[in-house]
Symmetry: C2
Subunit: 142 residues, 2 copies
DNA sequence: TTAATAACCTACTATTCCGATAGGTTAATA
DNA sequence: TATTAACCTATCGGAATAGTAGGTTATTAA
């Protein structure tokens, strides 16, 4: 299950990416429009800034703005920062690997084998989707 | 993240499927070999039995046995019973759908769009894998 | 018929994490 | 100098997870 943190984070990034101008966007505005707890969102924005996705400006007219081109922001990166591992089991995680303490042999573990496949297919989808991709409203006819 | 419950459940099913004979297997044996808390595993087995995956026999020589052919048991079914929804967000779940209370319009929600893709790719993998598939040890060279 | 076995049932609990709240501090603008 | 909005620290209730404990029922074998 995706945490609200990640969900809100992606929504906020999308909100900013959809802005016509490049002026900073306030968390209060995003929170209101996306029905997110303001304070909770603030903590998420700080994390996204510290991770290099956003820049911030204080005071009146301040807010958050994108640092990179939306087409350069892969969903894998966003989710890894906000959610943590993409894999459903630590023993198949590429970035957050951890050995199972119950499992003797990963090679013969059925869960391991299966979860590698799930991880790879998920990785493919998230790696192919950038912020630019998910920002555009629905695919319009070809 | 996959719960231990689901992980243990899959391991137990695999353990039984790997048995050479069709005799019932005791939870104590599985628990010991797979390093699972016995009592915890018991509760999982009961659930798998009630869901129609396993049969049970009490008393000496008793235990659990598979009811269906392993090739007929899809991982989607097992995971839906033990873990719940496969989708990462309730609003894209096929079997456990729930509307987000923050989201006004699913169509324009970037998270929604993205998670549909993740769901579909995961579903594909889990739907293509049966208990028979994950039971066999590693693919041997062609 | 009795003892042993193993599934089954109910209840409780410790720990962790999530989502949020509260209240204040710093920096930039008007 | 006042206002604004990011930033920081601390706290907290509730839910879920992963288990523990202790007993009951049904089946088998001696």
């Amino acid at each position: 299950m995706l945490s609200k943190k990640t969900k809100y984070g992606i929504k906020a990034l999308t909100y900013i990416a959809r802005q016509p101008s490049k002026k900073p966007v306030q968390t209060a505005e995003i929170a209101e429009n996306e029905n997110i707890s303001h304070k909770f969102l603030e903590s998420i924005m700080v994390q996204l800034r510290k991770s290099g996705f956003l820049g911030a400006k204080k005071g009146k007219g301040g807010g958050y703005y994108l640092i990179k081109d939306p087409a350069e922001i892969r969903m894998t990166a966003v989710i890894r920062i906000l959610e943590g591992p993409i894999a459903m089991v630590p023993c198949v995680s590429l970035n957050y690997y951890e050995k199972c303490d119950d499992c003797k042999d990963e090679e013969t573990c059925s869960v391991h084998q299966l979860m590698i496949q799930v991880r790879d297919s998920t990785l493919k989808v998230l790696g192919n989707n950038t912020l630019a991709d998910i920002t555009k409203d629905k695919e319009e006819g070809s």
